[in-house]
């Protein structure tokens, strides 16, 4: 008969305190927020995997979805990098250390770590879509996890150095032997120590083999469009290329009906898809 199990309100967010706000670019429209759980007990129930997203509530304004930029190996915090574009993101950008926000999730599927195990990984990112790739890199670089994966190659590009997220961390990674990272900007700038050129071209230069490898691509649509043929040329199959999609979302749990592509809900069945999966769907995204 009727189930007596208690059903929780899926819209009730965790209470989070903003622990740190970092301005990521000179325009100051890109900020990274580090959040901590207000109630100690909640911490253990927010279990996520790189690639997942969550809804941040700005009380008084509303909710919006963001990819989780921290890694589950970074205990006690959840981090997001947010570009200021509209109502919620503008309200969020006004908040400071010590202010409270809500957090609902984790939502969606994740990077398919089980398929990545034992493989060489090529991660290609552009602009501020690097968030869940950062999560993945941090996860793999964790001492416990590093041995489970092969070579880690990262190509990350932005218009100019100022638009690269996590600049300090990128420098640290550049110095490490267990990650091969290539940073690139569109046009030469004085003092720039990385590469110059668009992401697809740099990918073609530095990625030489698809042997036992999977590729992950995250960035603006035009970058993805020109990177895919490059990866195919190197020998990656559609089954071995993964990406994450963005759609307008509200519920995040497959009910409000606005984020579907064909019969797939990006919030519930995604946001991560292989190119092979996307090729079966209409390009309605």
């Amino acid at each position: 008969m009727t189930c007596q199990c208690e059903i929780k309100n899926p819209y009730l967010p965790y209470q989070m305190e903003i622990l740190e706000v970092v301005e990521e670019n000179p325009e100051k429209d890109l900020k990274t927020f580090t959040l901590g759980f207000l109630n100690e007990a909640d911490h253990g129930t927010f279990l996520y995997t790189p690639g997942q997203f969550a809804e941040i509530s700005v009380f008084g304004t509303g909710e919006a979805p963001f990819g989780i930029a921290s890694s589950p190996t970074e205990k006690g915090i959840v981090r997001f990098s947010v570009k200021k574009v509209g109502r919620v993101t503008t309200a969020l950008h006004i908040l400071e250390k010590g202010d409270l926000v809500g957090l609902r999730g984790p939502l969606g599927n994740s990077w398919p770590l089980e398929k990545f195990a034992g493989k060489n990984l090529v991660l290609v990112g552009g602009g501020f879509a690097f968030t869940t790739l950062r999560s993945l890199v941090c996860y793999i670089l964790d001492e416990e996890n590093r041995k489970n994966y092969g070579n880690l190659t990262v190509v990350y590009g932005a218009r100019n150095p100022g638009q690269l997220l996590y600049k300090e961390e990128l420098q640290d990674w550049s110095a490490r032997p267990d990650i091969d990272i290539h940073l690139t900007i569109d046009r030469p700038v004085e003092g720039w120590w990385g590469k110059v050129g668009f992401v697809p071209a740099v990918t073609e230069q530095v990625v030489t083999s698809s042997e036992n490898a999977v590729a992950v691509v995250c960035g603006p649509p035009v970058m993805i469009k020109f990177t895919l043929p490059v990866l195919k040329k190197i020998g990656f199959t559609s089954e071995n290329i993964f990406t994450s999609l963005e759609m307008k979302m509200k519920c995040g749990i497959g009910m409000c009906g606005r984020c579907n592509i064909g019969n797939k809900f990006v919030c519930k069945d995604g946001p991560v898809f292989s190119m092979a999966e996307l090729e079966k769907l209409p390009a309605e995204y």
Binding site: L12, T61, R258, N260, N263
Partner: protein, 344 residues
């Protein structure tokens, strides 16, 4: 199978008023609506169906999901909103709408995510349906393989046999009620009458209006030339989806004062342009063409692929109320479905 004299039934129903709220079809200027009933005589002689679908009772047009207080100098307080879920009897639901409840269950009470408010209302509601004897010209349940005498989704289905109702249960809750007085086991005569009625209503054997082509490859269905044409007269007003008993799309927004806020959900529609518009301004469904295609394919392809049933029950409200006479039956026929209907 059980039966009950009509007079006895309404006495019994009146008797339930003490413990439960009862909603029944009541005639207003515009037509029938599910409204509170306090026991007076029900006027059901021109009743075919209600204007608004029954989903309102479980998934209201507007409701608060959470609430919060933002007092100066204090941390924000967040609370779940508790819907007032008084035990409810829904009387007079038509079989098409009763079936729509089972479809909404698949969305709001899925294996992974469950909507608390929907579930609570659902568990608190007892559905008593009335089988149809005279479908309206816009009704097409039978073309979708749904019988006007179907009990699916009802706790109890009543079939009009003149001075009596034949009563069938589709749930344990319903069966338990029917086993007690004033209900009694159906007499052979009543059962014969029911069988005769079933014979008259075309047998719900084939879902003939659901086009074969829709079970094929999406890549082919998606590019059919008909999408370039059928959307042209549509105003994107959304009436068809608001009045649809199976449409479940909603928006979430915050309504706030200086110190208080409510996060509310309200019905939304894939027929609206901003439904899918990204923050960047990019819109995957920029014109009416993509939106009509979404509406048709969601109901007749995506929903069946995800939930194993067509998300249309043939109630015909979208046909009856569209300001420009957009007729989903026509679309299905042009896609290859057939309808055995003299009026078309």
């Amino acid at each position: 199978m059980y039966e009950i004299l009509k007079d006895d039934f309404f006495l019994w129903l009146k008797g339930q008023l003490g413990q439960k709220e009862i909603l029944a079809p009541r005639l207003k200027e515009e037509g029938y609506l599910f409204l509170p009933w306090d026991g007076e005589e029900l006027e059901l002689t021109g009743y075919t169906n209600t204007l608004k679908p029954v989903k309102d009772a479980f998934f209201p047009q507007w409701e608060a999901l959470i609430r919060y207080r933002m007092d100066k100098g204090k941390p924000v307080q967040v609370m779940g909103e508790n819907p007032a879920t008084k035990p409810l009897i829904l009387f007079g639901v038509r079989p098409c709408d009763a079936r729509s409840i089972l479809l909404l269950d698949r969305v709001f009470n899925g294996p992974k995510y469950k909507d608390q408010h929907y579930r609570e209302r659902r568990e608190n509601t007892f559905v008593i349906s009335l089988a149809c004897s005279e479908p309206a010209s816009t009704c097409f349940c039978q073309d979708l393989g749904i019988s006007p005498l179907a009990k699916e989704g009802s706790d109890i289905l009543l079939v009009d046999l003149g001075d009596k109702f034949l009563a069938l249960a589709d749930t344990l809750k319903g069966e338990e009620i029917l086993q007690e007085r004033p209900f009694s086991p159906a007499t052979p005569g009543s059962m014969d009458k029911f069988q005769a009625l079933q014979g008259v209503s075309r047998q719900a054997a084939a879902a003939s209006l659901v086009p074969e082509i829709l079970s094929g490859e999406l890549s082919q269905v998606f590019v059919l030339p008909l999408w370039d044409e059928i959307y042209r007269k549509c105003l994107n007003c959304g009436v068809c989806t608001y009045l649809c008993p199976t449409c479940h799309c909603f928006d979430i927004s915050d309504e706030t004062t200086d110190t208080e806020g409510r996060r509310v959900r309200s019905w939304d529609s894939c027929m609206f342009g901003n439904f899918t518009q990204h923050g960047s301004g990019h819109n995957p469904r920029p014109t009416g063409k993509e939106r009509i295609r979404q509406r048709v394919l969601h109901k007749f392809k995506y929903f069946p692929e995800n939930y194993l049933a067509v998300a249309c029950v043939g109630c015909g409200r979208c046909v009856a109320k569209c300001p420009v006479n957009f007729d989903i039956r026509e679309v299905l026929k042009r896609l290859g479905g057939c309808q055995d209907d003299m009026s078309m």
